[in-house]
Amino acid sequence: MRRGGFILAFILLFSSCALVHGQNFDFKTAQDNYLAAYNQYRTAHEDYVTASQAYLNYQTLTSKTEAFSKTLKMLEFRDEVIKTYLTTIRLKLAETTNIANYEQNVLYLKLDSEIAWYAKHRDSLASAGDLEDLISSSDEAQRKYQETEIFIYQVLGSILGGKETSLRDKINQNIEVIKTKLAAIKQTGDKNTTTAERWLLEAGNRLTRSSQKQVAAQKALSQMRTYDSDKAETYGQAQATLGEAHQYLKEANSNLRELIAEVKNAD
């Protein structure tokens, strides 16, 4: 009886520790893990290049064994880098508000599936018998990464888009509050609201244009294909379009500030 209680207490303690650990695992921690994995990968990659060059030069059994072990290590770290990177952007996605729930859920599911694939692939590498097996496994990962890359850029686009949506929502809220206030002022008749209403209209137009630009950026990312040679360039263009959307938001807010200055002045 006493032993059973002891075991139960131990299980509870263990589970609470795991919970605390889980709570502490935030974006920053994930990013640190990713950067550490990336550094290990770079070192392993250098060793792999040296070992494979030595094997190509000498063609000895020793150099072949060395090349095999270095290639295996490098491939394991490469999978680990992708896995930790995907975990990092997953947590960034969780931190970003104003991404539509359905969109966020779809992205989570896809991210989890990708993370699982690379974890499984990394574990399968150890069963490779020779260099040819490793090269075959690497080719498999290469084909997979072409799809993963598209998905990564779409997640990044959603994160940036979420930021824009959040800011646009705030401006929209301010527009609604100002609209109500202007209606009240108009009713009292102690201030001409014509100019202020015009500014309000301008701000609304800027918001619409910002929204259109954001849609255009998302569309460009969704049209990315696995055979696209430069996906980073497409992402760069989408970022530039989001920059234009952001500029419209700045202008809209500036219009509203002008409006308030106008309301504070007598006719």
Binding site: Y34, R78, I82, L156, N174, D190, K191, K250, V263, N265
Partner: protein, 126 residues
């Protein structure tokens, strides 16, 4: 009189041709060396002067169009126009503060997120 004799006689009658002596031949070799040296030195001095002149010469000033009269900035309107009854309205002041904060957010938003860019990996293993 044989023809050969006549020819010989005529030839001998001609005054001896004067040897052509150029100006340089008239100058003594030592003086020639001195003159050549002086000429070279003079050329070097001229080249140096031209070089210095070009180096330190001020670049020609670009011809600028006459400056257009710049409009004097009008003093900010709020300083001129009297305040409306809403200048101290609590709701208006709150909106103003919210818009100011939002402006800061808009300025500080990072739309690059360079730290999130995908890693550079060598995917081709041979």
């Amino acid at each position: 009189m044989p023809t050969d004799q006549v020819m010989e006689q005529e030839f001998e009658a001609l005054p001896p041709a004067e040897e052509k002596v150029s100006f340089t031949d008239k100058i003594r070799p030592k003086r020639k060396v001195i003159l050549t040296g002086a000429g070279l030195a003079l050329t070097a001095v001229i080249v140096l002067l031209v070089f210095l002149f070009l180096t330190f010469q001020k670049p020609p000033e670009a011809i600028l169009p006459p400056a257009a009269p710049s409009p004097t900035p009008a003093p900010f309107e709020t300083n001129i126009r009297p305040a409306s009854p809403y200048a101290t309205d609590a709701a208006i002041l709150k909106i103003e503060a919210d818009l100011k904060n939002l402006d800061q957010d808009l300025q500080n938003t990072d739309l690059k997120e360079a730290g999130l860019n995908p890693p550079v990996l060598d995917m081709k293993v041979e």
